[in-house]
């Protein structure tokens, strides 16, 4: 049986086609504003082609993410938290928490013994867009996303930026550049600030289990962030190979139910 999950985020669309609970195809592309519904549909068709299945061959398609309502072609939609939990259980059979860090949102989902969601936390407004902020800083510092992912916070060597607000952090980072701090130290400080904010979301309600927590979302690809977050929070996250597809995968899994 084929099912599909489509995650339309603020920044990127992610699509996963599942065949009997294993990934047959996965694709991603920028969301692109108003056109995101159409773009998702085109991407969906491309993914189907890759998976070698026609639309009729798909049992069910579920959309999720901030733009889930734009996916008219899907059979329905589910909230991100339920998809996150399903994905976490897929990657780790007895997962008790799912953490998803995307361009805009950070979510922490607690999962009960039966797989049901027992608690959810979304980031506060004052730390919205952490992923975007990180990306913007990378651009600013002329690092590729891959490059900045390799710069650990230790490289900051004591310099810090505001950890209360990503906008103030940017101001502080600019000031650091202004006084001649090397750009990799600035990158380290920005990574540290990201990790401090993330750690505080993790502590907002239920603290995720140290060994049974799955981390997904685009930011989970950033090694520097995940390593430092592991160290700071003490959680040994399970991070799948392509974490950005986590929520889409969860939707596809739910489509099979």
């Amino acid at each position: 049986m084929y099912t599909a999950g489509i995650d339309i985020g603020l920044e990127n669309i992610k699509i996963v086609i599942l065949k009997d609970a294993s990934v047959a195809a996965s694709l991603t592309a920028p969301s692109g504003g108003k056109e995101r519904g159409k773009r998702a549909e085109a991407l969906y068709d491309e993914a189907l082609l890759r998976a070698g299945v026609s639309r009729n061959g798909i049992h069910r398609t579920l959309a999720t993410g901030a733009g889930k309502f734009d996916a008219d072609f899907a059979d329905g939609n589910i909230v991100e938290e339920i998809a996150d939990a399903a994905a976490a259980r897929y990657f780790l059979k007895d997962a008790s928490a799912a953490v998803d860090i995307g361009a805009d949102q950070t979510r922490v989902v607690s999962i009960g013994a039966d797989g049901a969601v027992t608690e959810t936390v979304r980031n506060q407004k004052c730390m919205a867009g952490l992923g975007l902020a990180l990306e913007y800083m990378a651009e600013r510092l002329d690092f590729s996303i891959e490059e900045i992912s390799l710069i650990p916070p230790e490289r900051a060597e004591g310099v810090t930026v505001n950890d209360g607000c990503p906008v103030f952090a940017e101001l502080d980072a600019l000031e650091l550049l202004n006084i001649g701090v090397p750009r990799d130290a600035v990158a380290g400080a920005v990574t540290r600030m990201t990790v401090v904010r993330l750690n505080s979301v993790l502590r907002d309600k239920d603290f995720p289990d140290r060994n049974r927590t799955v981390l997904t979302g685009g930011v989970a690809k950033n090694r520097a962030v995940t390593d430092a977050l592991k160290a700071l929070s003490g959680i040994d996250f399970v991070i799948p190979e392509s974490p950005e597809y986590g929520t889409a995968l969860g939707a596809a899994l739910k489509a099979a139910d």
Binding site: T160, N199, D204
Partner: protein, 377 residues
């Protein structure tokens, strides 16, 4: 750096050392309305809890919308920076302070604590009775805690030490009244802050030394004399930025500055009433100045007495008492044609960002004071 500045920088070491030396207890307090004299009379060292920029670990779980200062106060306790404090005391002041106090007790229930209600309406005929009864209760509670209730002689001794401290600090401020002041704004602020975290008797000795040394210093050449008003500040970072631009902060209207050093305890037979009256009559913070609005007049007097050319108003983000006083202060300054610059500050104070407005203010007061490269910090 003077000795007091050194103690401020190593205040935790000082406090730990004081404890070892004297075997006494240490009380952390949140606001300058805390009647330190009573605690000091009981042999307890009151230590002001000062915020700084440090990484936030848990405040999001427990707080929302607080200013960074109060968030950091909670953080510091949670992190163990104040592991030497035996208790904490709050007074009726800004609600964020109260929140920091209350939440700290959730995190650290083992701390001894007390709350002194200092009336918000300070001017009523009955306010002083409330204040006195609160001080009496505080004295009794301290007695239960330490095993010895401070008597009149203890209170007299404390009043003497504290009055002496305020007098010495005022002498320091007095030196800033004229051109060629020997002391920088940052040093003065550091000195006042240092006095809040140490034994006043020891502080007084160091202050006397400092005064003697200061009075023989060569005069500073400052291009512009500025006044600093606004939310509570816990360091002299802003004063340092002003100095880097060739100007100097010569007077302040801050809780931690003039709010701390003005007005002595006028002795009377009822010691508690005497102490209470000092706190009801001292220059009030923006929060307590809520009915007859005396701040503008006081600010004007400071400007005149200390010959300030302009005013910097630095408001902490999410500081509501100062957010609500701005209209009144701006009106005063506009009416009296005083140049001023208002800005929001947060836990970090990036240099260029902050310097821009201050430099522009200096240029408005004295055009052409723009500094050549190399002279800047």
């Amino acid at each position: 750096m003077n000795k007091l500045q050194d103690i401020l920088e190593h205040r935790h070491e000082y406090a730990r050392d004081w404890k070892k030396r004297t075997g006494g207890r240490i009380l952390g307090f949140y606001d300058v309305y805390f009647p330190e004299e009573v605690a000091y009379a009981a042999g307890v060292l009151p230590v002001r809890i000062l915020a700084k920029h440090s990484e936030d670990f848990l405040t999001d779980r427990l707080m929302y919308g607080n200013c960074y200062c109060t968030r950091d106060m909670l953080n510091q306790f949670a992190r163990g920076d104040y592991d030497y404090a035996d208790g904490i005391v709050s007074v009726e002041s800004c609600q964020w302070h109260y929140n920091a106090f209350d939440t700290t007790l959730i995190e650290k229930p083992e701390l001894w604590s007390h709350y002194v209600f200092t009336p918000d309406y300070t001017d009523a005929r009955t306010s002083k009775n409330v204040m006195r009864s609160e001080l009496d209760l505080f004295r009794r509670k301290l007695g239960e805690w330490t095993g010895k209730e401070p008597g009149d002689e203890d209170l007299d001794r404390a009043i003497d030490v504290y009055n002496r401290n305020r007098q010495l600090l005022r002498r320091l401020y007095e030196l800033r009244k004229f051109d060629g002041t020997p002391i920088s704004g940052s040093e003065a602020m550091d000195t006042v802050l240092a006095c809040q975290v140490m034994d006043k008797a020891e502080a007084n000795e160091l202050l006397e030394e400092l005064l003697e040394e200061t009075e023989s210093r060569p005069p500073r050449e400052d291009c512009v004399r500025l006044m600093l008003i606004g939310s509570e500040t816990y360091d002299a970072a802003l004063e340092r930025i002003v100095e880097s631009l060739g100007a100097n902060v010569v007077i302040d209207d801050l809780d931690n500055g003039t709010g701390y050093i003005m007005r002595d305890v006028t002795p009377q037979r009822d010691r508690l009433m005497a102490i209470g009256m000092r706190y009801l009559l001292k220059p009030h913070s923006a929060l307590k100045d809520n009915v007859w609005r005396r701040r503008p007049q006081r600010i004007w007097e400071f400007i005149e007495d200390w010959q300030a050319d302009g005013v910097i108003i630095a408001k902490q983000i999410y500081c509501h008492p100062h957010g609500s006083d701005m209209y009144m202060v701006w009106n005063l300054l506009r009416e009296r044609n005083v140049a001023f610059h208002t800005f929001e500050r947060d836990t970090t104070l990036p240099y260029e960002e902050t310097a821009l407005g201050i430099e522009a203010l200096i240029n408005i007061i004295k055009p052409g004071m723009t500094r050549l490269r190399g002279q800047e910090v």
